[in-house]
C-alpha cells in the first residue's frame, strides 16, 4: 500500500535531523497558523499564490531562493565545523549523515537557491526593462515557479522522511546505482531535480520568447539593456541543455527503478556516459547562473557611474560568445579520466577561451567607470567586490583548465575554493547587488544603506578568510568531501576557514537585520520618485512599486538608454512629455493551475520516491487534468478601465514633476 514507506523512515534515532525537522515543522505550522489567524489566506491566494504577474512571481522566486540559501548555508556551517573538529577524530557527523549534508548543500545551492534567485530577478526585471506588461506566457510562468518550489519541498522533506542522496550534488554512477545506493536518497535527488528542472525549462522557453517577441515599440535588439541580453543568452542555454539533464536523470532512474543498464558497471552499461552527459548540462548551467549576474553588474556599473555602459556592442558579442562556447567545454570536469592528450588539449583550450569573453567584460566594466561619477552605494560595493573576487576565481579556473595543473588539484579543496570563488564572488554577489538595486522597485522603499554596507564587508572578508585556506589545503593535497581528516598539519587552515564561516555568519545576520530595519523604517526610506538611483533603463520610468500593468502607455524607445533619453529630454525642456490618451489595458487573469499542478507534482514525486505506484498514477493523472481544464479556459484576460490607468499614471506623473523640479534646481545650482 505504501511502497517502501514505513515508520522507520523517520530518523527518530538521529538527534540532528530530528530536532531540525521538529523545529522546521513547528515554524511552518506557526506561519500557517499566523496566516490563518490573521485571515490572510484570501489575500495570499488572490495576490500571490494564483498571481501570474511577473513581478509577484519574481518576488516569490527570490523569497524561495533566499530561504533555501539559508538552508544551504546551514549545511555549509556543518560541513566546515565537522572538518575542523574531525582531524584524527570522528567529529560529530557520521559519514552516512555528513555525505547527505554535502550532497544537499550542493543540490540546494545550485538548484534551489541560486537558480530561483537568478530566475526571480529575470522575472522581475526583464519585462520592465523591455517596456512590456508581462512575460510571453504568464500562466506558464506561474507553473514554472510552483514546480521549482515543489522540488525544493521534496529536498526538504527528505530531512525527516527517509534520507537525501549521499553521492554528491551530481550523483555519479555506479555509486548512485541501486547496488551501491539502495536507499531512497538518490531518488529524492532525482525527482526533486526532475520536477524543478521541468519548471526551469519552461522558464527558459518563456524568456526566450519574451525577449524575442515582447519588446516595446522601438526596442530593437541593440537597444535592449545588457541585462536583457544576458537573460536571452541564459534562457537559450536553459532551452539547449536542460533537456540533457532531464534525459540523463531519466536514464539513471530507469537503471535504479527497472534494472536498466545505461550507467551500471555491469551488462554493458557505461558510467562515463553519465559523467559526459551530466557535465554537458552542468557546465552551461554555470553560465546560466553567471550570465544574468553579469547583466546585473552591467546595469549597476553604468547607473552608479552615471554613464552608458562602455563598449555595449562588444559586451553583447562577449555574452553570445560565452553562451556558445559554454557548450563546448564540459570535458574539463574530468581531464583525469584519461581521455588522452588530444582531447584534453582541445577542451583545455576551449575552456580558457571562455576567459576571453569574461576578460573583455571585466575591462568594459572598468572603463565604464572611466570619466564617470562613481557613487559607492551598496550595489556598487558588491560590484567592485565582485571584480576583485571574480578575477581571481577566473584565474584559478584557467589554471584548472590546464590539464597538467588539473592533474594535481582535480577534486581537491583547490577546486572547491575555485568554484565557490566564481559562484559566490560572481553569482551570489551579483544577486545581492541586484536585490539591493531593484528592491525599491519591488516594494517602494530602499534597503538600509549602513546595514547593507556592513553585510557587504563581512561577506567579502568572510569569503576570503573561508576560501583562501581551502586553496592552500588543495595544494597541500587535501581532497574534497572528506568526512574526517587524518593529517594533523591541515588543522590550522581548517580552523582558519571555520573562522571565515563565522565572519560570513555575521554578514548573513547583517542581511537579515538590514531587511528588518528597512521594513521598520520604510517611511524614511520610501522611494517617492520611482527612480531612486538615477537609473537609465525603463524599469525606472515606472513608479515604485510598479503597478501590476507596469506601463500605462507602451513606451516608445528612441535610443540605447531608453529611460535616460526620456529623462534628458524632460530635464532640457523642463517639462514632462504631454499626457497621453489613456486606453483600457488587457491583463491576464490569475490562475491556480500552477499551484495545483505543483501540488500534484509533489505528490507524484513523493510517491515515486517511495514507490507507491497507485499514488504516483493518481498524482500524475490529477496534474494532467489540471492542464486539460486550463486548456478549455474561456476567459484569459480582464480589462483595466482607462480611468483606472489614468489615475495610476497621473500619480506617477506628479511624482515625476516633483523630481523634475528638483533636478532643475540641482542643474541651476551646479
Amino acid at each position: 500500500m505504501f511502497g517502501k514507506l514505513s515508520w522507520s523512515a523517520i530518523p527518530l534515532d538521529q538527534p540532528i535531523p530530528l530536532i531540525t525537522s521538529v523545529v522546521l515543522i513547528l515554524t511552518i505550522l506557526g506561519v500557517l497558523g499566523l496566516v490563518t489567524a490573521k485571515g490572510w489566506w484570501p489575500y495570499l491566494w488572490r495576490e500571490w499564490i494564483t498571481s501570474v504577474d511577473h513581478k509577484r512571481i519574481g518576488i516569490m522566486y527570490c523569497l524561495l531562493g533566499s530561504v533555501m540559501l539559508i538552508r544551504g548555508f546551514a549545511d555549509a556551517i556543518m560541513m566546515r565545523s565537522q572538518q575542523a573538529l574531525a582531524i584524527n577524530a570522528p567529529g560529530y557527523l557520521p559519514p552516512e549523515h555528513y555525505n547527505q549534508i554535502f550532497s544537499a548543500h550542493g543540490t540546494i545551492m545550485i538548484f534551489f537557491a541560486a537558480m530561483p534567485l537568478v530566475i526571480g530577478l529575470m522575472n522581475f526585471v526583464t519585462p520592465l526593462q523591455l517596456g512590456v506588461r508581462d512575460v510571453a506566457f504568464p500562466t506558464l510562468n506561474s507553473v514554472s515557479f510552483w514546480l521549482t518550489a515543489s522540488g525544493a519541498l521534496l529536498v526538504n522533506v527528505s530531512l525527516f522522511i527517509g534520507e537525501f542522496a549521499r553521492t554528491g550534488w551530481l550523483p555519479y554512477p555506479p555509486l548512485s546505482e541501486a547496488t551501491y545506493s539502495p536507499g531512497v536518497g538518490v531518488d529524492y535527488y532525482l525527482w526533486a531535480v526532475q520536477i524543478s528542472g521541468v519548471g526551469t525549462l519552461m522558464t527558459g522557453i518563456n524568456f526566450v520568447t519574451t525577449v524575442l517577441k515582447m519588446r516595446c515599440p522601438g526596442m530593437t535588439y541593440l537597444r535592449m539593456p545588457m541585462f536583457c541580453w544576458t537573460v536571452l543568452a541564459a534562457s537559450l542555454l536553459i532551452v539547449a541543455v536542460f533537456p540533457i539533464l532531464t534525459a540523463t536523470l531519466a536514464m539513471l532512474s530507469l537503471d535504479r527503478y527497472f534494472g536498466f543498464h545505461y550507467f551500471t558497471n555491469t551488462a554493458g552499461g557505461n558510467p562515463m556516459m553519465f559523467v559526459n552527459l551530466i557535465w554537458a548540462w552542468g557546465h552551461p548551467e554555470v553560465y546560466i547562473l553567471v550570465l544574468p549576474a553579469f547583466g546585473i553588474f552591467s546595469e549597476i556599473f553604468s547607473t552608479f557611474s552615471g554613464k552608458p555602459l562602455f563598449g555595449y556592442r562588444s559586451m553583447v558579442a562577449a555574452t553570445l560568445f560565452i553562451c556558445i562556447v559554454a557548450m563546448m567545454v564540459w570535458l574539463h570536469h574530468f581531464f583525469t579520466m584519461g581521455a588522452g592528450a588530444a582531447v584534453n588539449t582541445a577542451f583545455g583550450i576551449s575552456t580558457s577561451i571562455i576567459a576571453v569573453g569574461t576578460g573583455v567584460k571585466i575591462y568594459n566594466w572598468i572603463f565604464t567607470m572611466y570619466g564617470g561619477r562613481v557613487r559607492f552605494s551598496v550595489p556598487m560595493l558588491w560590484s567592485l567586490g565582485f571584480i576583485f573576487t571574480f578575477v581571481i576565481g577566473g584565474m584559478t579556473g584557467v589554471l584548472l583548465a590546464v590539464p597538467p595543473a588539473d592533474f594535481l588539484v582535480h577534486n581537491s579543496m583547490f577546486l572547491v575554493a575555485h568554484f565557490h570563488n566564481v559562484i559566490v564572488g560572481g553569482v551570489v554577489f551579483g544577486l545581492f547587488a541586484g536585490i539591493d538595486y531593484w528592491f525599491p522597485k519591488a516594494f517602494g522603499f530602499r534597503l538600509h544603506e549602513g546595514w547593507g554596507k556592513a553585510a557587504f564587508w563581512f561577506a567579502l572578508v568572510g569569503f576570503w578568510v573561508t576560501f583562501a585556506p581551502l586553496y592552500i589545503l588543495g595544494l597541500q593535497g587535501m581532497t574534497r568531501r572528506l568526512q574526517h581528516v587524518n593529517i594533523e598539519e591541515w588543522r590550522p587552515l581548517l580552523d582558519l576557514s571555520l573562522v571565515g564561516v563565522g565572519i560570513l555568519i555575521v554578514g548573513a545576520v547583517c542581511q537579515v537585520v538590514m531587511l528588518v530595519v528597512s521594513i521598520l523604517r520604510r517611511d524614511e526610506l520610501r522611494d517617492v520618485t520611482g527612480d531612486p538611483w538615477d537609473g537609465r533603463s525603463l524599469e525606472w520610468a515606472t513608479p515604485s512599486p510598479a503597478p501590476f500593468f507596469n506601463f500605462a502607455v507602451m513606451p516608445n524607445v528612441q535610443g540605447e538608454e531608453a529611460y535616460w533619453d526620456i529623462k534628458l529630454r524632460a530635464v532640457e525642456s523642463q517639462q514632462l512629455s504631454p499626457e497621453p490618451r489613456y486606453e483600457p489595458i488587457e491583463m491576464p487573469v490569475n490562475s491556480p493551475v500552477g499551484f495545483y499542478t505543483a501540488f500534484f507534482a509533489t505528490v507524484t514525486g513523493f510517491a515515486l520516491i517511495w514507490q507507491i505506484w497507485w499514488l504516483a498514477g493518481l498524482g500524475l493523472a490529477a496534474a494532467f487534468a489540471g492542464f486539460v481544464v486550463f486548456a478549455w479556459r474561456d476567459v484569459h484576460e480582464f480589462h483595466v478601465p482607462a480611468e483606472e490607468v489614468a489615475r495610476v499614471d497621473r500619480a506617477r506623473r506628479s511624482a515625476r514633476e516633483a523630481l523634475l523640479e528638483r533636478l532643475g534646481q540641482q542643474g541651476a545650482a551646479t
Binding site: R166, L175, K307, H410
Partner: protein, 296 residues
C-alpha cells in the same frame, strides 16, 4: 633553476607545508607543478594590474572627486576595445600553448623516459581500500604501496566497484579508477621517501579512510622487500579476494605472498563481478576494523 626557486618559495609561502603537490619528489609532479606555476605567473601579470586598475578607476572617478572630469556620454573607443580584446586573447594564446604542449608531454598514459625498465603495478580500487598487485614479483598488498626510488612505475588502474581516483599528491598526476576500464599512469619517485596516497573521488561512506602509505625505497631494499614478501603471509586466492570485495573501512595494510597472475585482468574485464555494495547483514557503518590502517 629560477623557476624551481620560485616554486620552492611559493610552496614555503603557502603555509610552510612541505608535503603538498608543490613539493614533488618525482619528475611528473615536478613538471606538473612547474606548469601550474608557469600558467599562474602568466596570468598574475595580467590579473594584478587589472585589479589595481579597477580600484584606481573607481577611486579616481568617485563622485566626490572634483578633479576628475565627467564624460557623461563617453562609451566607446575603438582603440580601447582593441586593447581589451587583445589582452585576454594574447594571454589565452600563451596559456593555450602551455595547455597544448603540457597535455602531450604529461599525458599520464605516456611512459617515462628511463634507462631502467618500469616496475609494473596493477591497482584495483575496492570499497574502501586499494589493492596493489605486483605481477613481476608475484605479490600483492592492500593500502600499502612500495616502489623503488629512481625507477619509473607503470600503474594499470581499475575499480572493482565505484569510481575512485588514484592520487599520490607528491608524485604528481592523478587518474580515475573506473570499473570495466583500465587507465594507465606513469610515475616515479626520485628518492626514498614516505608519502601518502588517497582517493580523490568520493566513493561512499568509507571514502575518508581510503588512504594508503607510499614507501619509496632504494632499489635494493625494494628487491629485498619483494623477496621476503613472496610466499610469506596470506595468499590472495579467490576466497581472500571475495572477502576484500566486501565493504570495509580503515583497513590495515596487508601483504599477500602470492597472487593469481590473471586476477587483474579478470577484475578489469569483469570476469569477476563488481563488489556487492552494502549488504543488509553488514551495514556500512558497522564492520569497522580497529586499526590505523591507511593513516599516517
Amino acid at each position: 633553476m629560477a623557476r624551481r626557486a620560485a616554486v620552492g618559495l611559493a610552496a614555503a609561502g603557502l603555509g610552510g607545508c612541505a608535503r603538498g603537490v608543490l613539493d614533488p619528489v618525482g619528475p611528473v609532479g615536478a613538471d606538473d607543478s612547474a606548469i601550474f606555476f608557469d600558467a599562474l605567473m602568466v596570468m598574475l601579470v595580467i590579473v594584478i594590474p587589472t585589479i589595481l586598475l579597477a580600484f584606481w578607476m573607481a577611486w579616481r572617478y568617485r563622485a566626490s572627486n572634483p578633479k576628475a572630469e565627467y564624460l557623461p556620454n563617453w562609451s566607446y573607443s575603438g582603440r580601447i576595445e582593441a586593447v581589451v580584446w587583445s589582452i585576454p586573447i594574447l594571454t589565452i594564446m600563451f596559456i593555450g600553448g602551455i595547455i597544448w604542449i603540457g597535455s602531450y608531454r604529461l599525458d599520464p598514459f605516456k611512459p617515462l623516459p628511463s634507462k631502467s625498465p618500469p616496475l609494473e603495478v596493477q591497482v584495483v580500487a575496492l570499497d574502501w581500500k586499494w589493492l596493489f598487485i605486483y605481477p613481476q614479483q608475484g605479490i600483492a598488498t592492500v593500502n600499502q604501496l612500495v616502489v623503488p626510488a629512481g625507477t619509473p612505475v607503470h600503474f594499470s588502474i581499475t575499480s572493482a566497484s565505484v569510481f575512485n581516483v588514484f592520487f599520490v599528491p607528491r608524485l604528481g598526476s592523478m587518474i580515475y579508477a573506473m570499473p570495466g576500464m583500465v587507465s594507465q599512469l606513469n610515475l616515479q619517485a626520485d628518492r626514498p621517501a614516505l608519502l601518502f596516497g588517497q582517493s580523490a573521488q568520493f566513493s561512499g561512506d568509507g571514502f575518508s579512510d581510503m588512504q594508503f602509505q607510499v614507501r619509496s625505497v632504494a632499489p635494493a631494499e625494494f628487491q629485498a622487500w619483494a623477496q621476503a614478501a613472496r610466499g610469506a603471509g596470506p595468499m590472495l586466492d579467490p576466497a581472500a579476494y571475495a572477502q576484500l570485495m566486501r565493504q570495509s573501512q580503515r583497513v590495515s595494510p596487508v601483504t599477500y605472498g602470492g597472487v593469481d597472475p590473471q586476477l587483474f585482468q579478470a577484475v578489469a574485464t569483469q570476469a569477476i563481478g563488481p563488489g556487492p555494495g552494502p549488504q543488509p547483514e553488514n551495514p556500512s557503518h558497522s564492520g569497522r576494523e580497529v586499526s590505523t590502517g591507511g593513516r599516517r
